[in-house]
């Protein structure tokens, strides 16, 4: 019995002494931490994606609070987080330029792409492209082993019925994990405002590029888009048209002239509708004016 009491007492008293000692030490060696840092790290999404350019959310919070880093760098947080940080820091919130992933290949998904052979190895793009330049006929296109989908932490990439990879722009935070995962560098992180993209990465000569592409939507380097672009945003690099997103004004004229529809313009229909309504309006106006004129003539008579 005495052993029991002794053990409880000994450990209890030891614990008490140590606890008091540590409490005293924590007061004496207290380190002042900027309360802003904690507040900001509480707001940040804490996914540590690194899109802001700092090693993790905690480092970004510290950089904002103490080193005056920009407050709109958090891609996953978006405008909400920027606004909240602005409140804490007493700054004005400038809207984040939200970025999303664009896959520069639309060869039609696993079901439509032309394959040289049936790849049955490890399910990763990195391994697939090592085997005689990849299983697909196009040496530049997607091999559809879905490394990017697995790399996505935000469930923003999906595989549709054709085996095509679809980026969910609502969920995509532009962290760039998929772009790093893609061994063929098909994925680019682009501002969501830039809607017109060249969805091909093939540097092959036109005839070959068209032949090997599952959708026949390869860039054949005809150069029509380069000529058509009003702001000289498109250039031909190694038999592939490349859009300079800094210059692009999202007019969609390149998509109109592209013979293989390798250039994607989601606003095409909207634009066509706008054009149609504008035309209709103009015609209506013309009619009105003509009617007025004819009426005036009648009155004169």
């Amino acid at each position: 019995m005495s052993i029991l009491i002794h053990s409880i007492l000994t450990l209890g008293i030891l614990g008490l002494i140590y606890g008091l000692g540590l409490a005293f030490a924590s007061k004496k060696f207290h380190v002042e931490v900027d309360p802003k840092i904690e507040k900001i790290s509480g707001i940040l999404p804490n996914v540590n994606c690194g899109a802001c350019g700092f090693p993790g959310c905690a480092a970004y919070a510290e950089a904002v609070a103490t080193k005056g880093a920009k407050i709109n760098l958090c891609a996953p947080g978006g405008d909400d987080v920027t606004k909240k940080i602005a409140e804490i820091m007493g700054l004005e919130a400038t809207s984040t330029d939200r970025k999303v992933a664009i896959i520069h290949c639309q060869s039609g998904g696993k079901n439509n792409t032309k394959f040289k052979y049936d790849y049955q190895g490890i399910e990763t793009c990195k391994a697939a492209i090592l085997l005689s330049g990849g299983p697909n006929a196009c040496n530049y296109g997607c091999v559809y082993q879905y490394d990017c989908v697995r790399a996505c932490k935000f469930d923003a990439m999906h595989i549709d019925d054709n085996g095509m990879i679809i980026v969910d722009n609502e969920k995509c935070t532009g962290c760039g994990a998929c772009a790093i995962a893609c061994p063929r560098n098909l994925i680019e992180i682009v501002s969501i405002k830039k809607r017109v993209h060249i969805l091909c990465s093939s540097h092959d000569k036109g005839a070959i590029a068209r032949k090997v592409c599952g959708n026949s939507t390869a860039c054949i380097a005809c150069g029509l888009c380069v000529k058509k672009c009003p702001v000289e945003a498109i250039s031909m690099q190694n038999d592939l048209a490349v859009i300079d997103y800094d210059k692009c004004i999202v007019c969609g004229m390149c998509a109109d002239v592209c013979p293989t529809s390798a250039i994607f313009d989601p606003l095409k229909e909207v634009r066509a509708q706008k054009k149609a309504t504008a035309k209709a309006k103009a015609e209506a106006m013309k009619k009105k004016i003509e009617e007025q004129k004819s009426q005036e003539k009648k009155e004169e008579e």
Binding site: H6, L14, G21, L22, F29, V31
Partner: protein, 195 residues
């Protein structure tokens, strides 16, 4: 003279012959984890020396004047761990206050000294070897120095390895493991020392 000789013998034993990391294989986690940079390795070593010396002191006192008289030696492990954990907390606070850069570079390995088996190892070995108070403290100190020596040697080698041309699959941890093995082999040579 005999006393000085004994201390010298103990120092050589603890630092080289019975080195905690490479001969007893205790405390391998920080040995691999904190040996990337020389600065942080040295800082970690200093922290471990301090904790080991203090732990030896306190655990010997607790064992001799508390556990043995009350016949509760079976509480040795828990009482020692309690002591070591508190000491590590204290060291962590002091380092955070005095050397924030070191605190950051040590990262999670600082609180992990708490569960570093080398520290508990030296405390228990002190008791098992039936050292007296002064020798227990010295043994803790020398064990810590031995740990630091190996850690700093490893950090120096790994800093150079960073710039060496290695096959991609060997970079980083694999080559560190191989180096650790080579160092253990080299230290095995000390076991031939005789006085």
């Amino acid at each position: 003279m005999e006393f000085a000789g004994k201390i010298l013998f103990m120092a050589v034993m603890a630092i080289f012959v019975q080195n905690f990391v490479l001969m007893r294989f205790l405390g391998l986690c920080p040995y691999i984890g904190v040996s990337k940079k020389l600065d942080s390795a040295l800082g970690m070593g200093m922290a471990v020396i301090f904790v080991m010396t203090m732990a030896s002191t306190f655990t010997w006192l607790i064992q001799t004047y508390l556990l043995v008289p009350l016949h509760i030696e079976f509480l040795q492990t828990i009482a020692f761990i309690l002591t070591i954990a508190s000491l590590v907390q204290l060291v962590e606070m002091v380092i955070q206050k005095t050397a924030p850069a070191l605190y950051k570079s040590l990262g999670v390995f600082l609180p992990l000294i708490t569960t570093n088996c080398a520290v508990l190892g030296v405390a228990i070995l002190n008791i098992q070897s039936e050292y007296n108070f002064i020798f227990a403290i010295l043994n803790g100190l020398f064990a810590g120095i031995g740990f630091t020596l190996v850690l700093v040697l490893m950090a120096g080698i790994r800093e150079r390895l960073d710039r060496a041309e290695l096959p991609a699959s060997m970079k980083g941890m694999p080559i560190a493991m191989i180096v650790a093995g080579c160092m253990a082999l080299a230290f095995l040579g000390f076991s031939g020392l005789k006085f």
